[in-house]
């Protein structure tokens, strides 16, 4: 039940970011300076935290989505759905931690 709630919430968050992300990328078609200006906004420290949060949502949605597929298509999927949720959470933690360490040290550290 909570994985289902989490899947919906992360899905909606990712969808709204996707709309914004296509629009900001579209500025490459306006001018190089317009694109550089908007992408500059993604490089400030507050946005770096936002990006890290977004990736947390994406990684959960991805791994839990694969779990949903396993539940639907694997013969023993429904039987092992609880164990698979723990695997999802473990993979999420490892993947997210690796991303966060790398991205935040790049984005927050001077270069």
């Amino acid at each position: 039940m909570w994985s289902w709630v989490g899947h919906r919430i992360t899905g909606v968050v990712i969808f709204f970011f996707l709309l914004v992300h296509v629009l900001d990328t579209s500025l490459v078609r306006v001018s190089p300076e317009a694109y550089t200006a908007v992408i500059g906004a993604y490089k400030n420290p507050l946005m770096a935290l936002g990006e890290t949060g977004l990736v947390a949502a994406i990684v959960f949605h991805a791994f839990n989505g694969l779990r949903v597929i396993a539940v639907d298509f694997w013969k023993k999927g429904a039987k092992y759905q609880r164990q698979m949720l723990w695997i999802v959470l473990a993979l999420w933690l490892v993947t997210f931690a690796a991303f966060a360490i790398r991205h935040l040290s790049l984005a927050l550290g001077g270069h």
Partner: protein, 158 residues
């Protein structure tokens, strides 16, 4: 052996939902099943496309600091990344739109509310998919306005 009739089925043995229990009058065909299948198939592909996108754009080299107009120009000079981004755009938008459609159907109880929310959703989806597709295929690394090259572009040496 006793066969138990499926809930809402017309008669024993048929998996079909009896007409009096269907919500749409059966005119929708198997659209919902295809949408369900699409979510799973596109989901698998999107995991690969988006993880690759995040890895190449944010984790390699200087990460986010390297992203600017030249970075995009460099990627889209290669058809591989054009196709990658095109597939990601279409699949993610359709996957997301179908997800939000499901959520609207679940939570908006009034018929008119459901209808208008979906009109807005489909309009947004159409605009974003067309815009994104055009941007990928009409991208110009050396933009020129009124015969003048815009600063920051990558133009061939004269």
């Amino acid at each position: 052996m006793t066969t138990i009739q499926s809930p809402r089925s017309g008669n024993i043995g048929s998996g079909k939902i009896a007409p009096k229990y269907t919500r749409t009058g059966g005119s929708k065909g198997n659209f919902e099943m295809l949408a369900w299948l699409f979510m799973r198939l596109s989901g698998i592909v999107l995991v690969v496309l988006i993880f690759g996108h995040l890895f190449v754009n944010l984790l390699v080299g200087e990460g986010i600091h390297a992203i600017d107009f030249g970075f995009v120009a460099g990627k889209w000079a290669d058809p591989f990344w054009q196709i990658w981004d095109l597939a990601m755009l279409w699949l993610a938008m359709l996957h997301g739109t179908n997800g939000v459609r499901t959520i609207i159907n679940d939570y908006a109880e009034k018929d008119s509310t459901r209808f208008w929310l979906k009109v807005v959703l489909y309009a947004a989806t159409t605009v974003i998919i067309i815009l994104g597709t055009l941007v990928i295929f009409t991208f110009n690394p050396c933009p020129v306005v009124d015969g003048v090259q815009l600063p920051g572009g990558f133009c061939p040496a004269p």
